[in-house]
Protein backbone atom coordinates (compact mmCIF):
# COMPACT_ATOMS: atom_id res chain seq x y z
CA UNK A 1 0.00 0.00 0.00
CA UNK A 2 2.96 2.31 0.68
CA UNK A 3 4.05 2.00 -2.92
CA UNK A 4 0.62 2.75 -4.23
CA UNK A 5 0.38 5.69 -1.85
CA UNK A 6 3.51 7.13 -3.39
CA UNK A 7 2.06 6.59 -6.82
CA UNK A 8 -1.10 8.28 -5.68
CA UNK A 9 0.76 11.35 -4.47
CA UNK A 10 2.52 11.45 -7.80
CA UNK A 11 -0.82 11.32 -9.55
CA UNK A 12 -2.22 14.23 -7.61
CA UNK A 13 0.83 16.39 -8.10
CA UNK A 14 0.94 15.66 -11.81
CA UNK A 15 -2.70 16.58 -12.06
CA UNK A 16 -2.27 19.96 -10.45
CA UNK A 17 1.30 20.83 -11.28
CA UNK A 18 0.83 22.59 -14.59
CA UNK A 19 -1.13 25.77 -14.36
CA UNK A 20 -2.06 28.39 -16.84
CA UNK A 21 -1.50 32.06 -16.24
CA UNK A 22 -4.25 33.72 -14.32
CA UNK A 23 -7.23 34.47 -16.46
CA UNK A 24 -9.88 36.83 -15.33
CA UNK A 25 -13.43 36.12 -16.30
CA UNK A 26 -13.91 38.94 -18.69
CA UNK A 27 -16.83 41.24 -18.41
CA UNK A 28 -18.87 41.64 -21.53
CA UNK A 29 -21.80 43.75 -22.50
CA UNK A 30 -25.13 42.02 -22.80
CA UNK A 31 -28.82 42.67 -22.97
CA UNK A 32 -29.53 42.18 -19.29
CA UNK A 33 -31.77 44.63 -17.49
CA UNK A 34 -29.45 47.26 -15.92
CA UNK A 35 -31.29 46.78 -12.64
CA UNK A 36 -30.22 43.13 -12.61
CA UNK A 37 -26.64 44.04 -13.44
CA UNK A 38 -26.64 46.53 -10.58
CA UNK A 39 -28.16 44.02 -8.17
CA UNK A 40 -25.57 41.36 -8.96
CA UNK A 41 -22.73 43.86 -8.73
CA UNK A 42 -23.99 45.29 -5.44
CA UNK A 43 -24.41 41.80 -4.00
CA UNK A 44 -20.80 40.94 -4.81
CA UNK A 45 -19.46 44.14 -3.30
CA UNK A 46 -21.61 44.04 -0.17
CA UNK A 47 -19.14 42.15 2.02
CA UNK A 48 -16.46 44.69 1.24
CA UNK A 49 -18.60 47.74 1.81
CA UNK A 50 -20.80 46.89 4.79
CA UNK A 51 -20.39 45.56 8.28
CA UNK A 52 -23.31 43.62 9.67
CA UNK A 53 -24.47 41.39 12.46
CA UNK A 54 -27.68 39.46 12.90
CA UNK A 55 -29.40 36.16 13.49
CA UNK A 56 -30.57 33.88 10.72
CA UNK A 57 -32.43 30.62 10.43
CA UNK A 58 -30.88 27.80 8.47
CA UNK A 59 -33.11 24.97 7.28
CA UNK A 60 -31.44 22.01 5.67
CA UNK A 61 -32.03 18.27 5.53
CA UNK A 62 -34.90 18.54 7.98
CA UNK A 63 -32.86 20.38 10.61
CA UNK A 64 -33.31 23.99 11.72
CA UNK A 65 -30.65 26.12 13.34
CA UNK A 66 -30.64 29.69 14.57
CA UNK A 67 -27.25 31.20 13.97
CA UNK A 68 -25.75 34.56 14.88
CA UNK A 69 -23.42 36.01 12.31
CA UNK A 70 -21.17 39.03 12.41
CA UNK A 71 -18.89 40.44 9.76
CA UNK A 72 -16.74 43.54 9.52
CA UNK A 73 -16.54 45.25 6.15
CA UNK A 74 -13.59 44.07 4.11
CA UNK A 75 -12.57 41.32 6.52
CA UNK A 76 -11.86 37.92 5.13
CA UNK A 77 -13.53 36.17 8.03
CA UNK A 78 -16.51 36.76 10.20
CA UNK A 79 -17.97 34.81 13.09
CA UNK A 80 -20.83 32.38 13.51
CA UNK A 81 -22.44 31.30 16.73
CA UNK A 82 -25.16 28.68 16.97
CA UNK A 83 -27.79 30.20 19.25
CA UNK A 84 -29.43 26.95 20.27
CA UNK A 85 -26.69 24.44 20.74
CA UNK A 86 -24.90 22.36 23.30
CA UNK A 87 -22.75 24.10 25.89
CA UNK A 88 -19.61 22.97 24.22
CA UNK A 89 -20.50 24.47 20.85
CA UNK A 90 -18.10 27.34 20.29
CA UNK A 91 -18.32 30.20 17.80
CA UNK A 92 -16.92 29.39 14.40
CA UNK A 93 -15.10 31.47 11.87
CA UNK A 94 -16.91 32.08 8.62
CA UNK A 95 -15.41 33.08 5.33
CA UNK A 96 -16.68 36.01 3.33
CA UNK A 97 -17.03 35.40 -0.40
CA UNK A 98 -13.83 36.14 -2.23
CA UNK A 99 -12.26 35.50 -5.59
CA UNK A 100 -12.73 36.84 -9.08
CA UNK A 101 -15.90 38.77 -9.45
CA UNK A 102 -18.08 37.51 -12.22
CA UNK A 103 -20.20 39.94 -14.14
CA UNK A 104 -23.93 39.57 -14.42
CA UNK A 105 -23.44 39.15 -18.17
CA UNK A 106 -21.15 36.17 -17.62
CA UNK A 107 -23.55 34.63 -15.14
CA UNK A 108 -26.40 35.35 -17.53
CA UNK A 109 -25.04 32.71 -19.88
CA UNK A 110 -25.54 30.11 -17.18
CA UNK A 111 -28.58 31.38 -15.29
CA UNK A 112 -31.75 33.16 -16.33
CA UNK A 113 -32.30 36.16 -14.05
CA UNK A 114 -35.50 37.65 -12.85
CA UNK A 115 -35.78 40.62 -10.51
CA UNK A 116 -38.85 41.77 -8.64
CA UNK A 117 -39.83 43.55 -5.46
CA UNK A 118 -39.20 41.34 -2.47
CA UNK A 119 -40.76 40.93 0.96
CA UNK A 120 -39.54 42.55 4.14
CA UNK A 121 -36.88 40.36 5.66
CA UNK A 122 -35.62 41.13 9.15
CA UNK A 123 -37.59 44.35 8.87
CA UNK A 124 -35.64 45.45 5.82
CA UNK A 125 -36.86 46.12 2.28
CA UNK A 126 -35.59 43.69 -0.31
CA UNK A 127 -35.60 42.79 -3.96
CA UNK A 128 -35.94 39.19 -5.07
CA UNK A 129 -33.34 37.94 -7.49
CA UNK A 130 -34.16 34.61 -9.12
CA UNK A 131 -31.39 32.61 -10.72
CA UNK A 132 -32.76 29.80 -12.79
CA UNK A 133 -30.19 27.46 -14.37
CA UNK A 134 -30.20 27.29 -18.15
CA UNK A 135 -29.26 23.60 -18.03
CA UNK A 136 -29.30 20.67 -15.63
CA UNK A 137 -25.77 21.28 -14.39
CA UNK A 138 -26.46 23.71 -11.57
CA UNK A 139 -29.04 24.47 -8.90
CA UNK A 140 -31.55 27.30 -8.91
CA UNK A 141 -31.60 30.10 -6.34
CA UNK A 142 -33.96 32.75 -5.07
CA UNK A 143 -32.22 35.49 -3.18
CA UNK A 144 -33.76 38.34 -1.23
CA UNK A 145 -31.24 41.18 -1.41
CA UNK A 146 -31.16 44.08 0.98
CA UNK A 147 -32.24 47.24 -0.82
CA UNK A 148 -29.67 49.38 0.95
CA UNK A 149 -26.59 47.16 0.95
CA UNK A 150 -27.11 44.29 -1.48
CA UNK A 151 -26.48 41.76 1.28
CA UNK A 152 -28.34 38.48 0.95
CA UNK A 153 -31.11 38.54 3.54
CA UNK A 154 -32.66 35.28 2.51
CA UNK A 155 -31.53 32.52 0.19
CA UNK A 156 -33.29 29.46 -1.10
CA UNK A 157 -31.73 26.69 -3.17
CA UNK A 158 -33.82 24.57 -5.52
CA UNK A 159 -33.37 21.37 -7.44
CA UNK A 160 -34.41 21.29 -11.09
CA UNK A 161 -37.90 20.08 -10.21
CA UNK A 162 -38.49 23.01 -7.90
CA UNK A 163 -37.86 21.17 -4.65
CA UNK A 164 -36.54 23.48 -1.98
CA UNK A 165 -33.25 22.03 -0.78
CA UNK A 166 -32.00 24.59 1.69
CA UNK A 167 -33.04 27.93 3.13
CA UNK A 168 -31.26 30.68 5.05
CA UNK A 169 -33.21 33.67 6.33
CA UNK A 170 -32.29 36.51 8.63
CA UNK A 171 -34.68 37.27 11.49
CA UNK A 172 -32.77 40.34 12.60
CA UNK A 173 -29.92 42.25 11.03
CA UNK A 174 -27.96 45.43 11.67
CA UNK A 175 -26.06 46.87 8.72
CA UNK A 176 -23.54 49.71 8.82
CA UNK A 177 -21.53 51.15 5.93
CA UNK A 178 -17.80 50.70 5.98
CA UNK A 179 -15.92 53.29 7.97
CA UNK A 180 -14.03 55.34 5.41
CA UNK A 181 -11.18 55.74 7.88
CA UNK A 182 -10.72 52.06 8.43
CA UNK A 183 -7.76 50.23 7.01
CA UNK A 184 -8.05 49.46 3.35
CA UNK A 185 -8.24 45.78 2.61
CA UNK A 186 -5.42 44.08 0.78
CA UNK A 187 -5.59 43.45 -2.93
CA UNK A 188 -7.96 40.71 -3.91
CA UNK A 189 -6.08 37.69 -5.14
CA UNK A 190 -7.23 36.42 -8.47
CA UNK A 191 -7.57 32.72 -8.83
CA UNK A 192 -5.40 30.88 -11.27
CA UNK A 193 -7.43 28.53 -13.35
CA UNK A 194 -6.28 25.08 -14.28
CA UNK A 195 -6.58 23.72 -17.76
CA UNK A 196 -8.89 20.79 -17.24
CA UNK A 197 -10.56 19.41 -20.31
CA UNK A 198 -14.19 18.38 -20.15
CA UNK A 199 -15.54 20.37 -17.23
CA UNK A 200 -19.27 21.06 -17.46
CA UNK A 201 -20.19 24.21 -19.37
CA UNK A 202 -19.35 27.37 -17.44
CA UNK A 203 -17.29 25.69 -14.73
CA UNK A 204 -13.66 26.55 -14.09
CA UNK A 205 -11.16 24.82 -11.84
CA UNK A 206 -8.47 26.19 -9.57
CA UNK A 207 -6.41 24.97 -6.66
CA UNK A 208 -8.52 24.87 -3.52
CA UNK A 209 -7.74 27.70 -1.14
CA UNK A 210 -5.96 26.33 1.89
CA UNK A 211 -5.87 22.80 0.51
CA UNK A 212 -3.78 23.24 -2.59
CA UNK A 213 -1.98 19.93 -2.24
CA UNK A 214 -4.97 17.67 -2.14
CA UNK A 215 -7.99 19.41 -3.57
CA UNK A 216 -9.35 21.38 -6.50
CA UNK A 217 -12.07 23.97 -6.46
CA UNK A 218 -14.56 24.01 -9.32
CA UNK A 219 -17.12 26.77 -9.76
CA UNK A 220 -19.24 28.59 -12.31
CA UNK A 221 -19.16 31.68 -10.11
CA UNK A 222 -22.11 30.59 -8.00
CA UNK A 223 -22.28 26.81 -7.99
CA UNK A 224 -19.26 25.52 -6.09
CA UNK A 225 -17.69 22.11 -5.65
CA UNK A 226 -14.51 20.86 -4.05
CA UNK A 227 -12.73 17.84 -5.51
CA UNK A 228 -10.60 15.80 -3.12
CA UNK A 229 -8.25 12.98 -4.06
CA UNK A 230 -7.43 10.08 -1.78
CA UNK A 231 -6.06 6.57 -2.12
CA UNK A 232 -8.84 4.05 -2.64
CA UNK A 233 -9.25 1.88 0.45
CA UNK A 234 -7.76 -1.57 -0.15
CA UNK A 235 -11.00 -3.38 0.49
CA UNK A 236 -13.07 -1.35 -1.94
CA UNK A 237 -13.62 -2.23 -5.57
CA UNK A 238 -14.07 0.56 -8.10
CA UNK A 239 -17.54 2.06 -7.99
CA UNK A 240 -19.48 5.19 -7.23
CA UNK A 241 -21.99 6.52 -4.76
CA UNK A 242 -23.57 9.78 -3.67
CA UNK A 243 -25.59 11.37 -0.91
CA UNK A 244 -27.27 14.74 -0.65
CA UNK A 245 -27.70 16.77 2.51
CA UNK A 246 -29.78 19.83 1.83
CA UNK A 247 -28.22 21.56 -1.15
CA UNK A 248 -24.88 19.81 -0.70
CA UNK A 249 -24.14 16.75 -2.78
CA UNK A 250 -21.27 14.41 -2.01
CA UNK A 251 -20.25 12.12 -4.85
CA UNK A 252 -17.44 9.57 -4.48
CA UNK A 253 -15.94 7.54 -7.27
CA UNK A 254 -13.26 4.90 -6.89
CA UNK A 255 -11.20 3.75 -9.82
CA UNK A 256 -7.92 2.03 -10.54
CA UNK A 257 -5.34 3.90 -12.59
CA UNK A 258 -2.23 1.98 -13.60
CA UNK A 259 -2.64 -0.30 -10.64
CA UNK A 260 -3.24 2.50 -8.19
CA UNK A 261 -6.62 2.89 -6.57
CA UNK A 262 -7.82 6.48 -6.54
CA UNK A 263 -10.87 7.81 -4.73
CA UNK A 264 -12.21 11.09 -6.09
CA UNK A 265 -14.85 12.89 -4.03
CA UNK A 266 -16.81 15.84 -5.35
CA UNK A 267 -18.63 17.77 -2.63
CA UNK A 268 -20.64 20.88 -3.36
CA UNK A 269 -23.88 22.57 -4.24
CA UNK A 270 -24.19 21.01 -7.66
CA UNK A 271 -26.56 18.49 -9.25
CA UNK A 272 -25.40 14.93 -9.70
CA UNK A 273 -24.81 15.18 -13.48
CA UNK A 274 -22.44 18.09 -12.85
CA UNK A 275 -20.61 16.18 -10.09
CA UNK A 276 -20.14 13.24 -12.41
CA UNK A 277 -18.87 15.40 -15.24
CA UNK A 278 -16.46 17.10 -12.86
CA UNK A 279 -15.16 13.77 -11.57
CA UNK A 280 -14.77 12.59 -15.14
CA UNK A 281 -12.95 15.75 -16.19
CA UNK A 282 -10.45 15.64 -13.35
CA UNK A 283 -8.22 13.19 -15.07
CA UNK A 284 -5.03 11.97 -13.51
CA UNK A 285 -1.63 11.27 -14.97
CA UNK A 286 -0.39 7.78 -14.13
CA UNK A 287 2.34 7.87 -11.49
CA UNK A 288 5.93 7.56 -12.62
Amino acid sequence: MTQSRHAFISIVFCAVAVMLPASVWAQTDCDLDPAIVDAVDQMQRSHQEFSYSGTFLKESSGSRNFIEKSHRAGDERGQLDYVNASETEEPQAVWAPRGPRMSACELGKLYAFHLERGPKVAGRDSVLLHLRPRDGLRLGYRLALDDASGLILKSESFSDDGTLLERHEYASLTVTPKDENSEAEGPTLLMQHLDIVGLPFGYKASLARGFEEKALFVSDGIAAATVVFEPLPDDLLPGEGAVRHGATLTYSRGSVVSGTGVLVTVIGEVPLPAARLIAEAVRVVPGR
Binding site: G62, H130, D135, A224, S255
Partner: protein
Protein backbone atom coordinates in the same frame (compact mmCIF):
# COMPACT_ATOMS: atom_id res chain seq x y z
CA UNK B 1 -29.95 12.59 3.20
CA UNK B 2 -30.77 11.09 -0.16
CA UNK B 3 -28.86 8.22 -1.67
CA UNK B 4 -29.39 6.95 -5.16
CA UNK B 5 -29.05 4.13 -7.60
CA UNK B 6 -28.55 4.32 -11.29
CA UNK B 7 -28.69 2.34 -14.48
CA UNK B 8 -26.70 2.04 -17.62
CA UNK B 9 -27.53 1.58 -21.22
CA UNK B 10 -25.75 1.21 -24.47
CA UNK B 11 -25.87 2.75 -27.88
CA UNK B 12 -23.77 3.71 -30.89
CA UNK B 13 -22.29 6.94 -32.20
CA UNK B 14 -24.14 8.89 -34.87
CA UNK B 15 -24.19 12.42 -36.15
CA UNK B 16 -27.09 13.07 -33.81
CA UNK B 17 -24.94 11.86 -30.92
CA UNK B 18 -22.17 14.24 -31.94
CA UNK B 19 -24.67 17.04 -32.15
CA UNK B 20 -26.06 16.20 -28.73
CA UNK B 21 -22.60 16.28 -27.19
CA UNK B 22 -21.95 19.64 -28.83
CA UNK B 23 -25.08 21.22 -27.44
CA UNK B 24 -24.36 19.67 -24.04
CA UNK B 25 -20.94 21.26 -24.10
CA UNK B 26 -22.45 24.59 -25.10
CA UNK B 27 -24.89 24.44 -22.22
CA UNK B 28 -27.85 24.30 -24.56
CA UNK B 29 -28.85 20.69 -24.15
CA UNK B 30 -32.42 19.73 -23.47
CA UNK B 31 -33.60 16.47 -21.93
CA UNK B 32 -33.54 14.70 -25.27
CA UNK B 33 -30.03 15.88 -26.08
CA UNK B 34 -28.65 14.73 -22.75
CA UNK B 35 -30.36 11.36 -23.00
CA UNK B 36 -29.08 10.87 -26.54
CA UNK B 37 -25.55 11.92 -25.63
CA UNK B 38 -25.43 9.55 -22.72
CA UNK B 39 -26.84 6.71 -24.75
CA UNK B 40 -24.52 7.33 -27.66
CA UNK B 41 -21.37 7.68 -25.61
CA UNK B 42 -22.06 4.52 -23.69
CA UNK B 43 -20.10 2.31 -26.04
CA UNK B 44 -18.37 4.73 -28.31
CA UNK B 45 -14.71 5.53 -27.76
CA UNK B 46 -14.99 7.83 -30.74
CA UNK B 47 -17.72 9.84 -29.09
CA UNK B 48 -15.76 10.21 -25.87
CA UNK B 49 -12.72 11.33 -27.88
CA UNK B 50 -14.97 13.76 -29.73
CA UNK B 51 -16.12 15.19 -26.38
CA UNK B 52 -12.52 15.84 -25.37
CA UNK B 53 -11.53 17.27 -28.74
CA UNK B 54 -14.45 19.66 -28.74
CA UNK B 55 -13.39 21.01 -25.36
CA UNK B 56 -9.84 21.54 -26.55
CA UNK B 57 -11.08 23.33 -29.68
CA UNK B 58 -13.44 25.48 -27.65
CA UNK B 59 -10.65 26.48 -25.27
CA UNK B 60 -8.35 27.32 -28.16
CA UNK B 61 -11.01 29.43 -29.83
CA UNK B 62 -11.58 31.20 -26.54
CA UNK B 63 -7.93 32.16 -26.55
CA UNK B 64 -6.92 29.81 -23.78
CA UNK B 65 -3.76 27.78 -24.11
CA UNK B 66 -4.46 24.32 -25.29
CA UNK B 67 -1.74 22.71 -23.25
CA UNK B 68 -3.46 19.64 -21.95
CA UNK B 69 -1.98 18.53 -18.67
CA UNK B 70 -4.08 15.47 -18.45
CA UNK B 71 -4.67 12.14 -20.02
CA UNK B 72 -7.87 10.19 -20.29
CA UNK B 73 -7.67 7.31 -17.88
CA UNK B 74 -11.00 5.80 -18.77
CA UNK B 75 -9.45 3.16 -21.02
CA UNK B 76 -6.84 2.30 -18.41
CA UNK B 77 -9.51 2.08 -15.76
CA UNK B 78 -11.64 -0.14 -17.92
CA UNK B 79 -8.70 -2.40 -18.69
CA UNK B 80 -7.76 -2.63 -15.05
CA UNK B 81 -11.28 -3.46 -14.08
CA UNK B 82 -11.65 -5.94 -16.91
CA UNK B 83 -8.61 -7.82 -15.69
CA UNK B 84 -10.04 -7.88 -12.20
CA UNK B 85 -13.24 -9.19 -13.64
CA UNK B 86 -11.42 -12.16 -15.16
CA UNK B 87 -9.95 -12.90 -11.76
CA UNK B 88 -13.33 -13.32 -10.21
CA UNK B 89 -15.16 -16.29 -11.59
CA UNK B 90 -17.67 -16.10 -8.78
CA UNK B 91 -20.82 -14.71 -10.42
CA UNK B 92 -21.74 -12.70 -7.35
CA UNK B 93 -18.39 -10.94 -7.26
CA UNK B 94 -18.52 -10.54 -11.03
CA UNK B 95 -21.81 -8.75 -10.68
CA UNK B 96 -20.23 -6.21 -8.36
CA UNK B 97 -17.29 -5.80 -10.69
CA UNK B 98 -19.60 -5.30 -13.66
CA UNK B 99 -21.40 -2.56 -11.82
CA UNK B 100 -18.11 -0.91 -11.03
CA UNK B 101 -17.23 -0.67 -14.71
CA UNK B 102 -19.68 2.17 -15.01
CA UNK B 103 -17.17 4.47 -13.38
CA UNK B 104 -14.94 4.36 -16.43
CA UNK B 105 -16.76 7.08 -18.24
CA UNK B 106 -19.76 8.94 -17.00
CA UNK B 107 -21.31 11.77 -18.88
CA UNK B 108 -24.15 12.80 -16.64
CA UNK B 109 -27.72 11.86 -15.89
CA UNK B 110 -29.32 10.78 -12.68
CA UNK B 111 -30.54 14.07 -11.44
CA UNK B 112 -34.10 12.91 -11.57
CA UNK B 113 -33.23 9.96 -9.38
CA UNK B 114 -31.27 11.93 -6.89
CA UNK B 115 -34.12 14.20 -6.03
CA UNK B 116 -36.89 11.73 -6.54
CA UNK B 117 -38.39 9.75 -3.70
CA UNK B 118 -39.39 6.97 -6.08
CA UNK B 119 -36.35 6.32 -8.21
CA UNK B 120 -36.55 4.42 -11.45
CA UNK B 121 -35.33 0.86 -11.16
CA UNK B 122 -31.78 0.58 -12.42
CA UNK B 123 -30.63 -1.57 -15.31
CA UNK B 124 -26.94 -2.34 -15.50
CA UNK B 125 -24.83 -3.06 -18.55
CA UNK B 126 -21.09 -3.59 -18.13
CA UNK B 127 -18.78 -1.07 -19.67
CA UNK B 128 -21.46 1.44 -20.32
CA UNK B 129 -22.31 4.94 -19.34
CA UNK B 130 -24.92 5.80 -16.80
CA UNK B 131 -28.13 7.11 -18.22
CA UNK B 132 -31.58 7.40 -16.85
CA UNK B 133 -34.83 8.23 -18.56
CA UNK B 134 -36.16 11.58 -17.50
CA UNK B 135 -32.81 13.16 -16.83
CA UNK B 136 -33.73 16.73 -16.26
CA UNK B 137 -31.97 19.53 -18.04
CA UNK B 138 -33.63 22.82 -17.27
CA UNK B 139 -34.21 25.28 -20.05
CA UNK B 140 -35.02 28.31 -18.00
CA UNK B 141 -36.73 31.45 -19.02
CA UNK B 142 -38.64 33.58 -16.59
CA UNK B 143 -40.36 35.16 -19.51
CA UNK B 144 -41.92 31.90 -20.51
CA UNK B 145 -42.38 29.96 -17.32
CA UNK B 146 -43.66 30.71 -13.87
CA UNK B 147 -41.32 31.44 -11.01
CA UNK B 148 -40.34 28.40 -9.01
CA UNK B 149 -42.73 27.54 -6.24
CA UNK B 150 -40.91 25.95 -3.34
CA UNK B 151 -41.99 22.82 -1.63
CA UNK B 152 -41.21 22.20 2.02
CA UNK B 153 -37.60 21.51 2.82
CA UNK B 154 -36.94 17.84 2.25
CA UNK B 155 -36.21 15.75 5.26
CA UNK B 156 -33.08 13.71 5.57
CA UNK B 157 -34.10 10.32 4.28
CA UNK B 158 -32.72 7.02 5.40
CA UNK B 159 -30.29 4.85 3.51
CA UNK B 160 -32.04 2.12 1.48
CA UNK B 161 -31.82 -1.47 2.67
CA UNK B 162 -28.32 -2.85 2.40
CA UNK B 163 -27.59 -5.05 -0.57
CA UNK B 164 -24.57 -7.12 0.45
CA UNK B 165 -23.70 -7.77 -3.19
CA UNK B 166 -23.57 -4.19 -4.34
CA UNK B 167 -20.71 -1.82 -3.73
CA UNK B 168 -23.07 1.04 -4.50
CA UNK B 169 -24.26 0.80 -0.92
CA UNK B 170 -20.67 0.88 0.28
CA UNK B 171 -19.97 3.92 -1.86
CA UNK B 172 -23.10 5.70 -0.69
CA UNK B 173 -21.95 5.11 2.86
CA UNK B 174 -18.46 6.25 1.96
CA UNK B 175 -19.87 9.40 0.38
CA UNK B 176 -21.85 10.05 3.56
CA UNK B 177 -18.67 9.74 5.62
CA UNK B 178 -16.90 12.08 3.23
CA UNK B 179 -19.70 14.59 3.63
CA UNK B 180 -19.05 14.68 7.36
CA UNK B 181 -15.28 14.90 7.00
CA UNK B 182 -15.02 17.20 3.98
CA UNK B 183 -17.81 19.72 4.54
CA UNK B 184 -15.52 22.12 6.36
CA UNK B 185 -12.93 21.81 3.64
CA UNK B 186 -15.59 22.58 1.06
CA UNK B 187 -16.93 25.53 3.01
CA UNK B 188 -13.43 26.96 3.13
CA UNK B 189 -12.70 26.52 -0.54
CA UNK B 190 -16.19 27.49 -1.71
CA UNK B 191 -15.89 30.91 -0.16
CA UNK B 192 -13.72 31.68 -3.17
CA UNK B 193 -16.81 31.58 -5.38
CA UNK B 194 -17.86 34.86 -6.86
CA UNK B 195 -21.18 34.65 -5.06
CA UNK B 196 -21.94 32.41 -2.12
CA UNK B 197 -25.69 32.13 -1.91
CA UNK B 198 -25.49 30.04 1.22
CA UNK B 199 -25.47 33.17 3.46
CA UNK B 200 -23.02 31.39 5.70
CA UNK B 201 -20.26 28.93 5.21
CA UNK B 202 -19.47 27.98 8.77
CA UNK B 203 -15.95 26.87 9.10
CA UNK B 204 -13.10 27.02 11.50
CA UNK B 205 -10.06 26.88 9.24
CA UNK B 206 -7.89 25.49 12.04
CA UNK B 207 -10.16 22.46 12.36
CA UNK B 208 -9.91 21.74 8.68
CA UNK B 209 -6.21 21.60 8.23
Amino acid sequence: MTTYDDNTTSGSASSADHESLSVLMDGEANDLDIARALRGAAESDELRAYWRRQHVVRDLMAGQSGTAISVDVSEAVRTAIASEKRRYANPIISMAVAASVTVAVVLGGQQALLFNDNPINPVTAPGAIVQVPGTGAVQASFAESPVLQPRPVTARSSVPPVDPYSNRVSYNRLADERFESLLKVHNTTASAASITPMVSRSIDPKDSQ
